[in-house]
Each structure stands twice: as structure tokens, then as C-alpha cells.
């Protein structure tokens, strides 16, 4: 989808020290016909970089420690990036909220029309959330693997300690989890530490 506008291509500065995410956001913006300046490192010289390259819009990770420095530029310079929230209607535009939920914060140069920055913001939001979802998926997989390992270990200990078979050990664990309204992996962890204490965990 190539954006055709009567204007010259907008310049977007992307400040993100998550290289994988920066790469996918950058690609998406280029595909949409924007000029992208990418900065991975958060730096003493961010404000200088902004003054030199004069981007029309800055997309920055909401968790970046450099945001306070950047925001102060709007008080210092003529070419001042302002938080995009300034432009959000006071009824809180849905896209603003979506941006913050996705971890995107954006700054636009004073005077830029909302209809020009909205599509950029939407590309960034979409990619940030894709990245978030991927990370979440990865973490879930990792947790599941770790949970599985914990449960197996706890089962083994119960079998050894009680002299029972695997099915009985699993049932015991599950009952404990139900009674305490805890997750299986939490109960497993408790079992392992208790067994360690009473010396059954060797």
C-alpha cells in the first residue's frame, strides 16, 4: 500500500532500543512511503539529533527514559516536537489510547495536521502490538515448558516419597492445587521446596 499524497514524503524518526521491533516498524513505515531515520541507542545526543534531522514526527517507545528530555525541547526550540497527546481531542481519541496501550508514544512538529500523522501512528501501533503479541506468545511457551518441568519434578518426588505411581502423584498435586486455588506449577514449586527441606529432594 503506497501512500500517495501531494506533499513531500514525511520524515519519521524512530527511537527504539528494541532492534527487532524497530526493524519491523521501520519496514512498515517505508512500505507506506515514509522516510525513516532510525535510532537504536538512547543517547545524550537525542535532542541534538532531532535538531539536526528535523523529523516531522518522532515515534518513541513509551518506556524510553529519554522522553522527558525530548518533551522539554518544545519549550526550547522553534522546531519543536510536541507530544501528540496535545492534539488528541479531550474526549480521548481511541487511537491515542491504543497507542499508549501498545507502548507507542509519538511527537509531532507543531502545526502538522492530524490527518497526516494518524496513518503513521496506526502503522506504529499495529507493529508494536504484533511485536508485543509475539513476545507474549514466546513467554507463554517458555512458561509452559518451565511449568511442565516443575510438575514432572514434583511428581517424581511425591512418587519417591509416598511410593505411589505417577497417576496418583499427579492426582495428589491436582487436588492440592484445587484446595489452595493455586496453579499446578505453584503447588509443584511448593512441593519441591518442602521436599528439599525434609531431605526428600535428593
Amino acid at each position: 500500500m503506497h501512500q500517495k499524497t501531494s506533499h513531500s514524503p514525511l520524515t519519521v524518526m524512530l527511537v527504539d532500543n528494541e532492534p527487532a521491533r524497530a526493524a519491523i516498524v521501520e519496514q512498515a513505515l517505508i512500505d507506506n512511503g515514509y522516510k525513516v531515520i532510525r535510532r537504536l541507542e538512547n543517547t545524550q545526543h537525542l535532542t541534538q539529533a532531532v535538531q539536526e534531522s528535523l523529523p516531522d514526527m518522532i515515534i518513541i517507545d513509551i518506556e524510553s527514559p529519554d522522553r522527558d528530555m525530548l518533551e522539554n525541547m518544545s519549550q526550547l526550540t522553534k522546531n519543536n516536537p510536541r507530544p501528540i497527546v496535545m492534539f488528541a481531542e479531550e474526549d480521548k481519541s481511541a487511537s491515542m489510547e491504543a497507542a499508549i496501550r501498545a507502548g507507542v508514544s509519538a511527537y509531532v512538529v507543531d502545526g502538522m495536521q492530524p490527518n497526516r500523522f494518524k496513518p503513521i501512528l496506526q502503522v506504529a501501533i499495529a507493529r508494536f502490538r504484533e511485536f508485543q503479541a509475539l513476545k507474549l506468545e514466546l513467554e507463554t511457551v517458555k512458561t509452559q515448558l518451565e511449568d511442565r518441568k516443575l510438575i514432572d519434578k514434583a511428581k517424581g518426588l511425591i512418587m519417591k516419597h509416598q511410593g505411589c505411581d505417577e497417576a496418583a502423584a499427579y492426582t495428589a498435586l491436582r487436588k492440592l492445587a484445587m484446595d489452595r486455588s493455586q496453579r499446578m506449577s505453584e503447588v509443584a514449586l511448593n512441593v519441591i521446596s518442602v521436599m528439599d527441606l525434609i531431605g526428600g529432594g535428593k
Binding site: P65, D68, M69, V85, E90, A126, A133
Partner: protein
């Protein structure tokens, strides 16, 4: 726009009743302690603390209710409610978590220059020596650069106040920039800045490491004044008054605990944990204990950060009006229909009294000295009204 519709909703990983943000500074201690010592839990509120990287991030997340409240600079609820620097969102504070703790530190090089201008240490402390140094600078030399932590902060206003009392124009004669507290010392060391105004321990550490000289404290500029507050999203607070009250009670208990010298070692070890300030406990000692590194100037005991007492914790409308006066003085204040109403609604001590069961009627509000609002703003802007030297609880001096 289809991109937004196709998104997978991301749920916050916590099932907490209330998420509170904090910046890893020593005055986040009441939040950390209320969580770690179970004071929130005791009040029946399930709180998750979220470490944030910038004040801007705290402001945006509270505005959009990703966080229901946070550790904030006292000026932030005012700036948000006025819509300066961000969208207009009503954030209120009904509990102050700390008082004082700021200092102004200059580089060794600048200190040397000031020392050659005068033998009188008072002239170093009150900025007169700095004025003389600047008078000798050539027209085309770069102006001196001072840093503070946020445009809407006591640090920024104290620094400007201190400069102007020495006849230095903070807008024309120097350059003021924002630097996060944790980076101040590096910037000073690398000569990226010539001085800064910041909370502890960043003044003491610069002195201890021989990187700069702490020359004057915030207490000497403004007397005792509120520093950080619990700021909450007003819509959330109106719909969840019981939870808001529980937060206030828990933080009140935590503030008492933090101020109790018997808890110092435990406090330092909890705060230094990676989840919180993530630094050696020793580095934090200057923020809390009665010992400071020996520098050129002593800290008056009153200048130390304190956390607990009715005078400290109760929202102070006079201080809100003072901050609004400062915002106006430095060109940050938009037109407001009633400063007093706005101050009372933003620094809301009725909720404080309700939460802590204080029946003592809150004092009747008036612009101190029965000035009109425009006279009040004018008086503050012209430096004809100052906070009483001992602090805001004693009101103002009219010069």
C-alpha cells in the same frame, strides 16, 4: 482504518485492583514500603507497582487509566488539569508523600570560577558569584547550561527562582535543559552541563565522587515545601473512593515507617532491590540518614527529605496556588477561570480528611491576604510574594 480493528487485544498481565506507577527515586520509598510491608494489603487493596522510565510515561499512563495513580511531582496534577504539555486530564492529589530534598550542584570548574570572584561564601550560595562569572563571559561564548528533571517541577522553579534573585534571567542568560536524575552526574562529569537542581542523593553523590559542589538546598530557597505526591486519575478516584482512601491510609502508615530511624537499614535494603532502585544500598544512605558527605557547604537538617506528619502529608492549597503562580511567572499558565477552585479540586484535602478520619475542619480557603487572583499572580511573578523562609505552613511573605 482496518489496521486498528485487526489487532489482538493485549491484556495487562496483572489482575490487580490498582496499578501504581513510580520512578525509581528515593522518594518513591512510601510506595515501595506500603507494598513490601503489606500496608496496602492490610487496607484491603491489591496494588501492583509499576516501575516507569519517565515522568511523561507516568503522566500518559495515568491519563489513560493504564495506571490508576502514581508517584508524581507535585506540579504534575496541576499541569495535567490545565492541559499544559499534554492533553487535559484531571489528575488529583489528596496525599503528599514527601517534603524537601532538593539541592543545586555546580561543576568543579564553575565552582572554581565563582570562588575567584568572591571570598564570601554567602555570595556563592545566593548566586551573586555566578552573576559575576557570567558578566565576564564574552558576548559570543556559549551560555552556561543548567539541568533540571522536568519542566513542571519544584526543581525547575527553584532553579529559576534562585537565578532570578541573583539578577540572572533564566530565559536569556543561561540554557535550561531536562536530564533524568540518574544521568545528572554523568552529564556534569562530561561537561555536558555546568550545574543542576535535583533531589537527593544526586547532589551528595556528586560531592562524594568529587564531581561537583552542592552550593544551596531547596529548603534555603523555599523553606519546607511538598515534593512528591500520590496523583490519581480523577475519574477513577470518583468511582473508587474506598480504594483511593485505602491507598492514602496505607501510604500514611508507610510514611511513618520510612521516617522511623529504627527502620533505616531495612529500608535501604528493600529500596536497593533490582525491582525498585536497583543500586547499592550505600548509595541511598545520603537520601535518608543524618550524614552527608563533607562538601563546601552543609545541608541544614531541615533540608533533608521527610515523609511523615500531618503538615507534610495533607495537601496544601497554598502550595498549589504558589506553583500556579510559578507556572504563570515562567509563561506556562493558560487562562484559568478560577485559580482557587482549580487549586482546591486538584489538591483535594477533603479526601485526605475523609480517608484518615480527620474531623478537624479543613481551613477556609482564600487567596492569602485576600488578594485578587490577578494581583496574586502579579505579586508572585514580580517576586514580591515569597514563601515564608520556614516553609509553606507559615504562609507567605509580602515584600
Amino acid at each position: 482504518m482496518s489496521t486498528l480493528d485487526r489487532l489482538i487485544p493485549i491484556n495487562a498481565p496483572s489482575d490487580a485492583d490498582v496499578s501504581l506507577g513510580f520512578i525509581p527515586l528515593i522518594d518513591s520509598a512510601p510506595f515501595v514500603i506500603a507494598k513490601e510491608k503489606g500496608f496496602f494489603e492490610k487496607e484491603g487493596v491489591n496494588v501492583v507497582l509499576s516501575k516507569e522510565a519517565s515522568w511523561a510515561s507516568i503522566r500518559d499512563k495515568v491519563a489513560f487509566n493504564l495506571l490508576q495513580g502514581a508517584h508524581m511531582l507535585a506540579s504534575m496534577p496541576l499541569a495535567s488539569g490545565l492541559g499544559v504539555g499534554s492533553a487535559k486530564v484531571n489528575i488529583q492529589t489528596s496525599f503528599t508523600v514527601s517534603q524537601n530534598g532538593n539541592g543545586i550542584t555546580v561543576s568543579n570548574e564553575l565552582y572554581q570560577l565563582m570562588s575567584t570572584e568572591t571570598n564570601n561564601s554567602n555570595e556563592i550560595r545566593n548566586g551573586k558569584a555566578l552573576k559575576s562569572v557570567m558578566a565576564k563571559k564574552g558576548k559570543h561564548e556559549k551560555p552556561l547550561k543548567f539541568a533540571m528533571v522536568y519542566p513542571y517541577s519544584s526543581h525547575h522553579y527553584q532553579l529559576r527562582d534562585w537565578l532570578s534573585r541573583a539578577n540572572i534571567d533564566p530565559d536569556k542568560d543561561v540554557e535550561l535543559i531536562v536530564v533524568p536524575p540518574t544521568k545528572m552526574i554523568d552529564f556534569l562529569k562530561n561537561s555536558a552541563i555546568d550545574g543542576y537542581c535535583v533531589g537527593e542523593p544526586w547532589n551528595s553523590l556528586a560531592v562524594e565522587q568529587g564531581i561537583g559542589h552542592m552550593i544551596v538546598t531547596g529548603y534555603e530557597i523555599w523553606g519546607n515545601t511538598p515534593e512528591k505526591v500520590l496523583g490519581v486519575n480523577q475519574n477513577w478516584a470518583n468511582a473508587n473512593s474506598e480504594q483511593h482512601d485505602a491507598l492514602i491510609r496505607a501510604l500514611n502508615t508507610a510514611c511513618e515507617w520510612v521516617d522511623d530511624a529504627a527502620n533505616l537499614e531495612e529500608l535501604l535494603s528493600v529500596l536497593s532491590h533490582p525491582d525498585y532502585l536497583n543500586c547499592p544500598a550505600e548509595q541511598l544512605r545520603y537520601g535518608f540518614s543524618a550524614i552527608k558527605p563533607s562538601g563546601q557547604f552543609d545541608w541544614p537538617m531541615e533540608a533533608y527529605q521527610k515523609f511523615s506528619s500531618d503538615k507534610i502529608n495533607r495537601p496544601n492549597t497554598d502550595y498549589a496556588l504558589w506553583l500556579l503562580g510559578q507556572m504563570n511567572r515562567w509563561g506556562q499558565l493558560p487562562a484559568v477561570s478560577s485559580l482557587l477552585d482549580f487549586a482546591i479540586n486538584t489538591f483535594d484535602d477533603r479526601v485526605y480528611c475523609r480517608a484518615l478520619n480527620i474531623n478537624q475542619p479543613c481551613k477556609p480557603y482564600s487567596l492569602t491576604g485576600l488578594l485578587s487572583e490577578s494581583d496574586w499572580l502579579k505579586g508572585v511573578a514580580e517576586d514580591k510574594i515569597r514563601i515564608h523562609p520556614d516553609g509553606i505552613e507559615f504562609g507567605f511573605d509580602y515584600l
